[in-house]
């Protein structure tokens, strides 16, 4: 398995499918576990870390996940490959740029990854497109059970699963949903969303998790409380209450743009189209920002049947825009592909060598131009 087999296309969870996929990009559940009888990683010697790595790697590689699985030694991987894995949400920033023996087990379809020796000995995650938390929960629980048959995890009757950081203690579950909220941003209501999330003890993070910016109007919302509340309760609250409510607010903001602020909406979309179709140098941040407005316009056209001068223009864009473009005009799948394939590490892996920022910006602009101008 080569990373370029992955980098040439988007992963399944980002393909634009799944419930509420126009606003909910993905659902992710992560469990943190530590082997009983070992110290936490910050007190482990390199040899102990290697021992943990080998033990967990052997267990994980023997699992039947219904998909091919492969292992990558993260500490030995070149920085570009590590960066790529992070862009792909297969490993965290902490894992990509941490220290010591560590690795990741990945299911080829990318619905499952297991980081070994991240902050905890083991962090397993299941990812799916759209709002599918219950399905993620079912799958990760099954995988966790399979692993637990082969190893013992540090567990206390009072505190539950013991983690290196007390903030993850108990269920050690992190439920994260990635949302695309451009209309809340444009209408200036995003702060309300932040405040509401804060009041509910939820964390809001950027596109690539902890410590990252909310680029392209993508936000990850996740639980912070892991102790004293069951996995089922956390998941049900997210799936039945928190996320549908945010989706409703975003939809209301989209309707508001259409009925009260059409000039503002059209200005955003038209500028995005003009720049993306003509720019010769475009940074990753700018691309995310502009593609976000294009995605908003397309979603409003497809899901709400919205019509405005700028939204109607999107319908006239290339019929063959991108490999997966279907039907009339530019497709959401194409936009999603552009989001992911123009990220710095994806660009360079697909190009076959490392590039400086200017060359990356030129290549990015060229890919976007050709996707949006084809067939016109």
């Amino acid at each position: 398995m080569k990373l370029t087999d992955l980098s040439s296309d988007i992963n399944e969870w980002f393909s634009g499918s799944g419930p509420l996929a126009d606003i909910v990009i993905s659902s992710r559940i992560r469990l943190a576990r530590n082997l009983a009888g070992y110290k936490f990683l910050n007190r482990c010697s390199t040899d102990e870390k290697s021992e943990i790595l080998k033990k967990l790697r052997d267990v994980l590689m023997s699992l039947d996940l219904g998909d091919k699985i492969f292992y990558i030694s993260v500490d030995k991987a070149p920085p570009l490959n590590r960066h790529f894995l992070m862009e792909r949400h297969l490993i965290s920033r902490h894992h990509a740029f941490g220290k010591g023996p560590r690795g990741v087990v990945i299911a080829q379809k990318e619905f499952f990854t297991a980081m070994i020796n991240e902050e905890d000995h083991l962090r397993i995650q299941v990812l799916k497109g759209g709002l599918q938390l219950s399905k993620c929960a079912e799958q990760i629980n099954h995988i966790d059970d399979m692993i637990e048959k082969k190893v013992s995890f540090a567990f206390s009757p009072r505190y539950g699963y013991l983690t290196a950081c007390p903030t993850n203690l108990g269920t050690a579950i992190r439920v994260s949903v990635m949302l695309h909220l451009p209309a809340l941003k444009i209408t200036g209501q995003i702060e309300k969303f932040f405040n509401a999330a804060k009041d509910m003890s939820l964390a809001v993070r950027g596109l690539f998790g902890e410590g990252t910016e909310a680029a392209g109007d993508f936000y990850q919302i996740s639980n912070q409380v892991t102790l004293g509340v069951s996995e089922d309760d956390i998941i049900t609250e997210f799936e039945k209450s928190i996320i549908p409510e945010i989706v409703e607010y975003e939809n209301a903001a989209r309707s508001q743009l259409l009925s009260e602020q059409m000039d503002l909406l059209d200005d955003k979309i038209s500028r995005a189209v003009a720049l993306l179709r003509n720019a010769h140098l475009i940074s990753s941040q700018e691309a995310l920002f502009l593609l976000s407005h294009l995605r908003l316009g397309l979603n409003m056209r497809e899901s709400m049947g919205a019509s405005s001068p700028a939204i109607d223009t999107l319908g006239t864009l290339s019929k063959q825009s991108g490999r997966k473009g279907k039907g009339d005009g530019l497709s959401i799948a194409t936009i999603n592909r552009l989001f992911m394939l123009t990220l710095p590490a994806h660009l360079q892996l697909n190009y076959g060598k490392t590039l400086d920022a200017t060359h990356r910006d030129a290549l990015r602009a060229q890919i976007i131009r050709s996707a949006l101008n084809q067939g016109l």
């Binding site: 936490f40 013992s152 206390s156 009072r158 290196a164 903030t167 932040f194 809001v204 912070q224 409380v225």
Partner: protein, 176 residues
């Protein structure tokens, strides 16, 4: 309050810097903050927040309560101390949760909305005795909550359940 740098605009950014145990405060306007290259983070990752909370605590007594010695205890299993936890925001080994149970409790409560007891998945390998112990802990916590909310009917039911469980547990213990 006026900006301490330009002395013109209102100070909207209030910075507290603690270096080598010395606390310094600065009140500045947004414009000067930008000029000084001070970025204001709107969201702080929880780990950072936790370590900053720990760093700002003025004394062990305030943080861990008057009875705690704080830093002098070290874990016999991994050699970890609270001083190290304060710097790194991660623990050294699973036993640290027992060794530093009292001092950590306030932090755990803060991080988990006042909760201190696990409620959720239990490893399948867990022995029957431990499972009962967990059930007992959960019941006791529910009892506490019922008393606090003055739901005495529920409290009485829970008390009876606990008694029943404790009797059963003792029987199991004696038979082992």
């Amino acid at each position: 309050m006026q900006c301490q740098i330009c002395n013109k605009n209102d100070a909207t950014i209030h910075l507290t810097e603690i270096a080598d145990g010395v606390r310094a405060e600065m009140h500045i306007c947004e414009h000067c903050a930008q000029e000084q290259g001070i970025a204001v983070k709107s969201q702080i990752p929880l780990n950072e927040l936790l370590s900053s909370l720990l760093a700002v605590q003025p004394s062990d007594e305030e943080l861990f309560g008057p009875d705690e010695k704080g830093d002098s205890t070290s874990c016999p299993h991994c050699g970890f101390t609270l001083e190290q936890f304060r710097k790194e925001a991660v623990l050294g080994c699973p036993y640290d949760y027992e060794i530093f149970e009292k001092p950590l409790r306030r932090l755990i409560q803060k991080a988990h909305n006042g909760k201190t007891t696990h409620c959720g998945k239990i490893p399948s390998k867990t022995s029957t005795g431990t499972k009962k112990q967990i059930k007992l802990i959960t019941l006791k916590q529910q009892l506490e909550a019922a008393v606090q909310s003055e739901d005495y009917e529920m409290a009485a039911q829970l008390r009876d359940k606990i008694k029943k469980y404790e009797t059963k547990k003792n029987e199991v213990d004696r038979s082992q």
